[in-house]
Amino acid sequence: MADIKQLAGPQSRRKFLAVGGGSTALAAFLAACGSDSSSTTTTGTTSMSGGKSETAEFGKGDVGILNYALTLEYLETAFYAEVVKSGLFKGADLATIRKFGQEEAEHVQALTQAVKSLGGKPAPEPKAEFPLKDAKSVLELAGTVENLGAAAYLGQAANIESPEVLASALAIHSVEGRHAAALNTLLGESITPDGAFAVPADVPTVLKSVEPFIVG
């Protein structure tokens, strides 16, 4: 345990960053995620929100993280369901959207089960509304949502305590990454907008981004 704390502690992180000369890519990456990875320690002293985890409002520990993820997956599922109904897409694009929506629904089911298996209460499904004007803006929104979702999972990976929960979150995380890259391809955008190292997003950033779509 000592070595984990040592490595996760803010001092060793600075050291870690300081030696970065040989690999600018890693240094850049660590610098990019440094601010929120400091909240991954459970010592309380380095946490961003005064000793509480970022996902405390969703529950304690892994339950909170899973419920946070569940809330995002509910939003994604609702979004794709509305897009399918909108009639804006046909053919191969519709098939892709339908498939992604089904996968998000599977994530909802899996996360709900996981929360229950940890003895927690699954987060309620939020009521959501999405602007569905035209195919292009919908695809752009889908791309934004998926890239954000992938970043949200990445932001929480190091906070997860249970190796089983972590393995499961990772199995979902990379699928969100696949969705994001596929949508970016459809949009003619880079499949790796962050470069060779994906950048995590912290909870406040993610919640602020999805807030406009949550009603009531």
Partner: protein, 217 residues
């Protein structure tokens, strides 16, 4: 001894059969053996139905972070060499050519980042093995690329929960997401589902060991 070759009988995917991992010293390091196992296990990956929250874990047990990073480094060496060669071998043009260049660049950055991290942790990065990729033409390249990228995702997903340092874990997560993005892009080039399943199956210890066995001396 330094030139062990996977055979068709041992693999579900014949295109992997002739992937050589040569080691100048004559001994296969642990991470190279694990890599062979991961590739072989990745080849049978599609046949495994895995519930997401089933207690299945983890491609390796007892490995230190340096061990895991060296395992990842070997995989990244394979990918970066593969794409670097593909610049001239894959006969790619247009959009695919740009993609090959991007992937070569990303994988090279992963190599550098992993080697740098291993050194910072006080470890010694494994030497770059020699590889031999058996394919011809754009189609052959794309098929092998898809296998490598999907396998890479599963290998990282399987190994990551064993990582002790939170920084290293986040770094590995950051890389695996990029591998997943590569996998999706390559799959689209192959006219296949970019995300064929709702969960990217990790390679667990049993799979890896089973796959590694035939290659242990």
């Amino acid at each position: 001894m330094s030139n062990k070759t996977m055979t068709n009988e041992q693999l579900a995917k014949p295109e992997l059969a002739a992937v050589h991992i040569d080691d100048d010293s004559g001994d296969l390091s642990r991470s190279e053996v694990l890599l062979k196992g991961a590739l072989a296990a990745g080849a049978v990956y599609g046949t495994l139905a895995v519930g997401p929250f089933v207690r299945k874990a983890l491609a390796m047990t007892g490995g230190s972070d340096v061990d895991i990073l060296n395992f990842a480094l070997t995989l990244e060496y394979l990918e970066s060499t593969f794409y670097e060669e593909a610049k001239s071998r894959a006969k790619a043009s247009g959009e695919l050519k740009s993609l090959v260049n991007l992937l070569a660049k990303d994988e090279q950055q992963h190599v550098e980042a992993l080697a740098g991290t291993i050194k910072k942790l006080g470890g010694k990065p494994v030497a770059k093995p020699k590889f031999d990729f058996p394919y011809s033409g754009t189609g052959g390249f794309l098929k092998l690329a898809q296998t490598f990228e999907d396998t890479g995702v599963s290998a990282y997903n399987g190994a990551a929960p064993m990582i002790k340092s939170k920084e290293v874990l986040t770094a590995a997560g950051s890389i695996v997401q990029v591998e997943a993005r590569h996998a999706a892009a390559i799959r689209l080039q192959n006219k296949e589902e970019p995300a064929p399943a709702a969960f990217d199956t990790p390679l667990d210890e049993k799979q890896v060991l089973k796959a590694v066995e035939p290659f242990l001396a």
